[in-house]
Amino acid sequence: MQKTGGQLVMLVAINCLLLVLGAAISGGSFLSLFNLQSMASQLPEIGLLAIGVMLAMCAGNGGIDLSGIALANLSGVLSAVIVSSFLSSTDSETAFSLAFIAGALAIGFLGGLTNGLLISKLNITPILCTLGTQMAFMGLAVVVSGGKAVMVGSPALLSSIGNDMFLEVPISFLIFVVVAGLIAAALKFTPYGLWLMLMGTNPKAALYAGFPKNGVLMATYAISGTLSGLAGAIIAARNVNVKFDYGSSYLLIAILIAVMAGVKPEGGYGRVICVVLSAVALQLMSSLLNFGGLSNFVRDFAWGLLLLTFLAVGRYDLTGFLFPGNRQPVSLAPRPHAPKRDN
C-alpha cells in the first residue's frame, strides 16, 4: 500500500517540479493559459494508448499491447474511407462526425477483440500476438489508404473536439479525463476489475477459482482496442488528416508511461490515476525541452533517466539508501501476493 502510494506522491511531485522549472526558465510563459491548453490538447492520444497498455499489462502472463498506435491509425484511416464513401464532411457535418467517431470506435473495438481472441483462445503470447496484429493493422491501413494521408476535413463537431475549449479546457482533454475516470471506476467497482487484477497476480489460481479467464482477456484487449479507436478519432479531429504511419514513436512511449506509472509488467497491479499523471509528466518534460530550445535527443535521454529514477525509487527503496539513519524496518519475510485494489 505504502509503496504504491509513494508512486502517486512522487508523480505529483515531479509534475509540480516540472511546472515550476518551466515557469522559471521561460519567464512565466510556460504557465500561460495558451501553453497549458496546447499541452493538454497534445496529451489525450498518447494517454489513451498508455491506459490500453496498462490494462494489457495488468492481465498478467506477459500481457502487453503493441498494436495500440497502429490500430489507432487504422481506425482513423478505415473509418474516414468508409464514412466519406457515403457522407460528405462538408454537407452533413454532424452526421459525418458522428459516423466517423462511431466507425473509429467500432474498428478499434473489433481490432482489440481480435487480439483478445488470439490471445485467449489460441493461447498466443501477447507480445507476439500484438506484434503480429500491429503489422497487420498497419498493413491494412496502407492498403486502404494507398499509403497516402486520408483527408477527414474539419466538420463542425469533429473540429470542435480537436480545437475548441470547454471552460478553457480543451474538449479532447476532457474526453480523455472522463474516459480515464470511467476505466478507473470499472477497475475499482466492477467484478471485472477484481478478476483482472487477481488473474494478473496469479493466473493459475484464478483458473482454479473458476474465473472467466477468456472473457476477462477478451474484454481487456477489446477495451484497449476501443481506446485506440478513440485515440484515432482524436488524432483525426486534431490533425484534419489521418495517415498509417502517424506516431510511430508512440508505441514505446506508451509503454514507458505505463512502466513509469508503476504498472507491474508481470501483471496484477496498475492505477489509472498514476498513468494519467505519468503521461502528464512526460508531456511537461517534452514541452519544457522544446521551450528551452534543446535538442530532442536530450529529451530521449531525459525520459530514460526519469524512467530509471522511478524504477530505482520504486523497487529498491532508494530513500532508505539515501538516508540510512531513518531506514524503515523492512519485512524480509516473503509476502503472499495479495490483490491490491486501490485504483
Binding site: M151, R238, N239, N241, D245, Y246, S249, Y250, N296, Q328
Partner: protein, 336 residues
C-alpha cells in the same frame, strides 16, 4: 507518511539534478524569432541545413534564427515540437514537414495567432504563407531520368526508390521520371516505388533482392538522400559497376567513394544550406510585411531570381533554381 515524503524528496532531487542542465537555455528575446523545424535532426542533410540557418542568423543580427527537429522520423514528434514553439510564441516558423497533411491543423492555428509560416518541400501545403522549393519537382525528376536514360543507352529494365510512399516530393520525382522514360520505347520500368525509409542498409538489402530478381536490370533512379549509398553498395558488391546505372538524390561527401568507383553514375541535389537560408530570408521578408514578387532576389545562391506562383492554399509558392546534377567529374565543386 514520513517515508513517503522522503521518497518524494529523493525523487524530486534526482529529477531536479537531471533537468538543471536544461535551465538557463532561454533568455528574454525582443528580436523576432524565426524557428526552423526540420524532419529529423542529426542526419547530414539537415546538419547542412543547420549551417545555413546559422549563417543566416549571423548575417542578420536583427532576427533570432535557430533550428530544431525530432530525434526520430515521426510526424507526430515534429507536430509536438511545432505546437510547443507556437505556444512559446515564436514570430515565424520555417518548417520542412515530415508529412504536410499532419501539420495542416497546427499551421492553421499558428497563422491565426499571427505567426508567419514558411515551408519547404511541401508544395501541397494549404495552410502556409509561403512554400519555398529549390526547383520545379517535375523538372528535377525528368532531369534525373534523362541522365539515367543517357547512361542506360535509352533501353533496358529500370526501377525506382522513394523514401516512403507518403513522401510527396519523392513520388513527384519518380512520377516525372516515369513520364520522361515513356519517350524511350526500350525502357521498361520494373517493380517501381520501392520504399527505402532513407535507410542505407535497408536500401542495400532491397537493391540486392532486385538485382537477384532482375539480373538484367540496367538502371536505378532513387529519391531519398541515403538511397544512392545503399543501391551503390549493392551494385559495387555485385561487381556490376559500369553495367548498371544509378542516378538519384544524394550528397557529394557521402557519395564521393561510390562516384569515384563508378557505382553511382550521377547524383542530383539541391543545397539544403541554401534552402535553409532561403526559407529564413522569406520568413524575414514576410515578418517585415514586404511583398515577395516574381523575379525577386532572396540574396541566396540559386534563389537570385525566384518564380512566384499561387500555392496550394492562400499562400505563395516560391520556386528557385537550385538544382545541381553532379557526376564523377564535377562533384568536387560541391563538396559538403
Amino acid at each position: 507518511m514520513k517515508a513517503l515524503s522522503k521518497k518524494m524528496l529523493a525523487g524530486t532531487a534526482v529529477a531536479a539534478a537531471m533537468l538543471a542542465g536544461s535551465a538557463g537555455a532561454l533568455v528574454a528575446q525582443e528580436k523576432p524569432v524565426i524557428a526552423t523545424v526540420v524532419k529529423i535532426s542529426g542526419i547530414p542533410w539537415f546538419d547542412r541545413m543547420n549551417t545555413g540557418v546559422d549563417a543566416f542568423a549571423e548575417a542578420n543580427p536583427d532576427v533570432d534564427a535557430s533550428q530544431s527537429g525530432p530525434a526520430t522520423a515521426d510526424s507526430a514528434q515534429q507536430l509536438q515540437i511545432i505546437q510547443d514553439l507556437v505556444a512559446k510564441g515564436v514570430n515565424a516558423l520555417a518548417v520542412v514537414p515530415m508529412d504536410p497533411a499532419v501539420l495542416e491543423g497546427t499551421f492553421k492555428r499558428a497563422m491565426e495567432r499571427g505567426i508567419v509560416v514558411v515551408t519547404h518541400e511541401a508544395d501541397n501545403q494549404t495552410n502556409t504563407n509561403a512554400d519555398v522549393e529549390a526547383f520545379d519537382n517535375a523538372d528535377y525528376g525528368a532531369a534525373l531520368n534523362e541522365r539515367l536514360a543517357e547512361c542506360m543507352g535509352k533501353e533496358g529494365k529500370w526501377t525506382t526508390f522513394v523514401g516512403s510512399l507518403g513522401s510527396r516530393t519523392h513520388m513527384q520525382w519518380v512520377g516525372a521520371g516515369e513520364e520522361n522514360a515513356k519517350k524511350y520505347a526500350g525502357m521498361e520500368l520494373v517493380d517501381p516505388n520501392n520504399e527505402s525509409f532513407d535507410d542505407a542498409n535497408g536500401t542495400y538489402e532491397k537493391a540486392k533482392e532486385i538485382l537477384r530478381k532482375h539480373p538484367d536490370i540496367k538502371g536505378f533512379q532513387t529519391s531519398a538522400g541515403n538511397d544512392v549509398l545503399g543501391v551503390g553498395r549493392a551494385i559495387d558488391e555485385a561487381g556490376l559497376t559500369g553495367k548498371v546505372c544509378l542516378v538519384g538524390t544524394g550528397l557529394p561527401n557521402p557519395s564521393a567513394d561510390l562516384l569515384e568507383s563508378g557505382a553511382i553514375t550521377a547524383i542530383g541535389f539541391w543545397d539544403p544550406q541554401k534552402a535553409g537560408m532561403a526559407m529564413n530570408a522569406v520568413a524575414k521578408l514576410l515578418l517585415a510585411k514586404k511583398e515577395v514578387t516574381n523575379g525577386l532576389d532572396l540574396g541566396v545562391e540559386g534563389y537570385n531570381k525566384v518564380t512566384v506562383k499561387k500555392g496550394a492554399g492562400e499562400g505563395l509558392l516560391i520556386v528557385g533554381n537550385g538544382m545541381v546534377l553532379a557526376d564523377k567529374a564535377t562533384y568536387k565543386e560541391h563538396l559538403f
